[in-house]
Amino acid sequence: MFERLATEAPLFFNIHNLVFIGQAMGRTLGMTLIGCGVGFVFGLLIAVLRQTTGRLLLPLRFVAIAYVEFFRRIPFLVILFIVLFVIEPLMPGTSLFGIATVAVCLLSTAFLSEIIRSGLESVPRAQVEAATILNFNTLQTLTMVVLPQSWRVILPPATAFVVMFIKDTSLASQLGVIELTFAGKILVNRGFSPVLGFGTILVCYFALSYPLSRFAAYLEKRLAAS
C-alpha cells in the first residue's frame, strides 16, 4: 500500500490536480459561507419576529416556529433532495451549486435563528425596559441595546455552527456539485489510490475547519471572560 502511495504521490500532486482541488475547496467554502450568511440574516429576522408579542404577527410567528422546528429535524441530505426536486422543474437552469446553497440556507436559517434567539434572550429584560421608557422604538431597542449586548452570546456557537456546516456540505457531492468530497471521488475514479485521494480531501477539510473551530473556542473564552 505504501509503495503505491510513494509512486503515485508525485503524479497526484501535479498542478492540474491541485487547481482542481483548490476550486473544489472554493465551492465548499462558498456554499458554507453564502449559506450561513444568508441563514444568519433570515435567522435574525425569525429570531426578532419570535420576540414580538403583537397579535397581528401571531400567524407569522407560528409559521416561523413551525419552520424552525421542522427544519432542525430533517436530515440535510433529505433537504438537499427535496430542494433539488422542487427547483429543477421550476427553474431548469439553476446550477447544482445554487441548489445546494439554497439547501444550506434553509437549514442554517433554522439553526442560526435558534442561536440568535438565545442570544437575544440573554439580554436582561431590564435593559429593554430602560430603552422603552426613554422612548426607543422596537427597532432602536434592538439595534442600539439588545443586539450589541448579545453578540458575545451569539458569536461563539454561531462560529461553531459554521464549522459544522463545512462538513455537512460534503453531502452536496451526492447532487454532483464538484466540491471537495466529489473532487475526491473523481480523483479516485481516475485511478488514484483512495488513501491518497480521500486522505488529501480530509486534510483540505481540516485546513478549512480547524482554524475556524479554534477561532470559535477563542471567541468563547474571550467573550465569556469580559
Binding site: 431590564a126 435593559q127 425596559e129 430602560a130 430603552a131 422603552t132 421608557i133 426613554l134 422612548n135 426607543f136 432602536q140 442600539m144 441595546v145 450589541p148 449586548q149
Partner: protein, 245 residues
Amino acid sequence: MQHLEIDNVCASYGKLEVLRDVTLSADKGEVVSLIGPSGSGKSTLLRVLIGLTPLTAGSIHVGGERVDYSNRKNLKKLRGHMAIVFQQYNLFQNMNVLRNVTIAPVKIKKQPRADAENKARELLEKVGMQEKAEAYPDELSGGQQQRVAIARALATNPEILLFDEVTSALDPERVKEVLDTIRSLTDEGITMMIVSHEMAFVREVSTRVAMMDEGRIIEVGPPAQIFEEPQQDRTRDFVSKILSH
C-alpha cells in the same frame, strides 16, 4: 389642578392583585415619598405610572390630561415628560457613561450631538461623575452607576421624576452620595415620587409621605404626621420598626 393625579388605580400580575384603588396626587414641584413593607406595590405603582405595567382600572392625569396607556403616541408623549430611575440602575452595558446620557437626546429627541454632549457633561458634573464620562458601566461602583442613571434620566428634561429604591443596592457609604444628588434636585421644580427605605431622607425631602400596604395607600400626610403622629396603627408599626433599625 394637580400636576400628577392617580385616581382609583388597580393593577395585577395575572391573578395577583397588586394595586387596589390607589389614589394619590402630586402638585407641581412636590416631592411625594412612598413607604411601606416589601411587596406592598410601591414599585408597581411607579411602573404603572410610566407605562411598563398596565393598569386594569382607574385613571392617571398628567398636567390635567388623561394618559391613554394603550395609545402609542400618548405613551411617547408621557415618557417625554416623565423619567424613572431603578434600583438596579439599568445603564446600557454596551455604552459608556457619556453615551448612556446622550443617547436619548440625540437618537430619540434628535438634538444636535454637540448640544447634547454639553448638556450631558453639565449633568454629569452635577452628579459628580464628570471624570468618568468615558467609563463603561461595569467599570463603575453601584453608587457611581446610580448617579449616572440619574443624569441619564435628567437628560430628557423630565417634569416628573420617579425613583424606585435607588439606594437599596448600595453600600452604606455610597448611599449618601446618591441621596445628596437627589436632594440637590428637589428645588428645581421637578415633581418627584420617591420610593425609599431611608426614613431620615424621606422625612427631610418630602412634602408628603404615602404609606402603602397590600396594594392600598392607607395613609397620606406631611412627614411630621407620618413619622410623629400616624393615624393608622399599621403606619405606626412600620415606621417604628424601621426607625428602630
